[in-house]
């Protein structure tokens, strides 16, 4: 059965993998605040629009999507301006949800992140979906990500006529992704904090895309963590990706990353704690309810990212 599916964030690589999986049986409408990258043509119909703009309403009016997949969260690693991120991530998401309700979309899948749980020394292993979202207390810079999550979950509880699925995946990495963690893993030498080596989970881009498709095709709704198979310490993750870990004492690393991130280099300082304390999530519920099982284990996943590094060629 062909459905009209609206996907946000289609200029990014993950949305492309999702589109590839969905396009044979569905009509895909793509939206992104960024223009499409010229090297990757998009097979569906594409609109370049901010999620807060009136143009979004026109897209909904014209296409009446049955399913909305919101993958377009803007990360702190992409845009430094917190007000822009807040507008697009919080107000934009609310706008998308309101429009979905207004135009009687059946289902919404929102991609949040495991970062909302916050990296904290007291975190236990296997954080479940009902764990408090500590990130906004520890890192105010992540408030937009937490509020995006809240906007989606409150829609989930308030409007049952719109089946809402909120996915909180661990680090998504892959050969075609250009997010912070994949970029780091593709470097020759990758920084790590000396003396700290937290366990990290990695989700292959294909597994992430399959998880999103499972959420689209099912009739279940709710909040779900999504992880890959297994976890390894960050230093080992770097080695599996074929790079060399470069240990930096943490008292030097924080000011260093702080000054680099002020120049928009490397990654924002508040993400440093994710390389210091483990934030290991449990995706037991998603596996049980959606029959999900990742096809790539953590070693394959990391190798595939490393193999895509330009310096390997």
């Amino acid at each position: 059965m062909s459905r009209t599916i609206l996907i946000t964030g289609v200029s990014g690589a993950l949305a492309r993998v999702v589109t590839e999986l969905l396009i044979p049986n569905n009509e895909i409408i793509g939206v992104d605040v960024r223009p499409l990258p010229p090297e990757r043509p998009f097979e569906g119909e594409f609109y370049c629009a901010r999620y807060t703009q009136r143009k979004m309403a026109e897209i909904f009016r014209r296409h009446k999507p049955e399913v909305v997949i919101h993958l377009g969260r803007i990360r702190g690693t992409q845009v430094a301006s917190s007000s822009y991120r807040y507008n697009q991530n919080v107000l934009g998401t609310r706008n998308l949800l309101d429009l979905s309700l207004k135009h009687s979309a059946k289902r919404v899948v929102v991609l949040s992140t495991y970062h909302v749980y916050g990296a904290h020394e007291h975190n236990h292993v296997g954080l479940s979906e009902d764990h408090p979202l500590r990130a906004s207390q520890i890192f105010p810079q992540l408030a937009d990500a937490v509020e995006l999550d809240h906007a989606a979950t409150s829609c989930l509880w308030r409007y049952r006529r719109l089946e809402t699925v909120v996915l909180r995946p661990c680090n998504i990495v892959g050969p075609s992704l250009n997010n912070m963690i994949s970029r780091l893993l593709r470097a020759r030498a990758v920084p790590r904090l000396l003396g700290y080596d937290p366990m990290m989970q990695m989700l292959h881009e294909r597994d992430a895309a399959r998880a999103i498709c499972l959420a689209v095709d099912s009739e279940r709704w709710g909040i779900y963590n999504v992880a890959g198979e297994g976890a390894v310490p960050w230093s080992k993750a770097i080695k599996h990706a074929g790079a060399r870990p470069a240990p930096i004492p943490h008292f030097m690393a924080y000011p260093l990353v702080g000054s680099l991130s002020a120049l928009n280099l490397l990654f924002p300082k508040h993400l440093m704690d994710y390389f210091r304390y483990a934030t290991v999530i449990s995706d037991k519920a998603f596996r049980n309810d959606f029959g999900y099982s990742p096809q790539y284990d953590i070693v394959d996943t990391l190798r595939s990212v490393g193999a895509s590094a330009a310096w390997h060629a």
Partner: protein
Amino acid sequence: MRLIKRLLDTFTKPLPGSMADSLREAAQVDAGGYDPWGLHPETAERTLRSMRWVYENYFRVQTYGIENVPSGRVMLVPNHSGQLPLDAMMVAMSMTFAAKSPRIVRGMVERWVPSLPFISTLFNRCGSVTGDPRNCVSLLEREQPILVFPEGVRGSGKTYWHRYTLQRFGTGFLRIALQTGTPIVPIGVVGAEETYPAIYNFEWLAKLLSVPYVPITPTWPLLGPLGAIPLPVKIDIHFGEPLVFEGDPDAPDEEIQGQVDQVQGAIQRLLDEGVAQRSGLTMLKLLPGGRP
């Protein structure tokens, strides 16, 4: 790191094949060679190898009744003492070197440990996890042996004058045992109480430094780093019969307390008997205080 590994491999004897196999099998690691808490059996093995001399020759550890430890999920509950968690290390090592089927013990550590560089990582690789009830329950569901000290820092930080006297036990461990149907093995560790005989604890300084305690011993801080070397006291570990409790894990504290008292009583008996059967008279026995 590589240098440390090479040195250890050169200067320490590898564990017998069956022992190493048993450790790995019981650890249940994922595809990457780690379990979700960060246990890495190879690192744990290297650490055990490097500490074997301390276990066998320095503290001359002897175990009694280790066959009482059942297979599958189990909670090991010893008395806590000695400022540094040497007692935890010795109990964990006894489960490798003296047990019939060696297993890596999962020690529950204080919540501030993950903030310590190096130590937190090494502890994780060797099987320790943050003392959060949810970690404990998940590990028990994976049939892992848990090592828990219900006295916490009240036990490890006590001065020498309170040796072999159990401090107040928390009730959390018993609620978890009830919830998961886990047998509790009471353990009396005799000797570890004398490794760092603390004469005084600077409570005000500990508060100022945000650390659990600042002890002084006859040698520390007087002799500087040398004073931090523990006294070579012989350590005897007495494993009691497993205790299995039934009841509501959410019962009020006064109901749980009765069962906690049974565990505490069993450990105190093991300690009293262990101290009485100890041969020889050490200098430390002559000092006042303590139960015996």
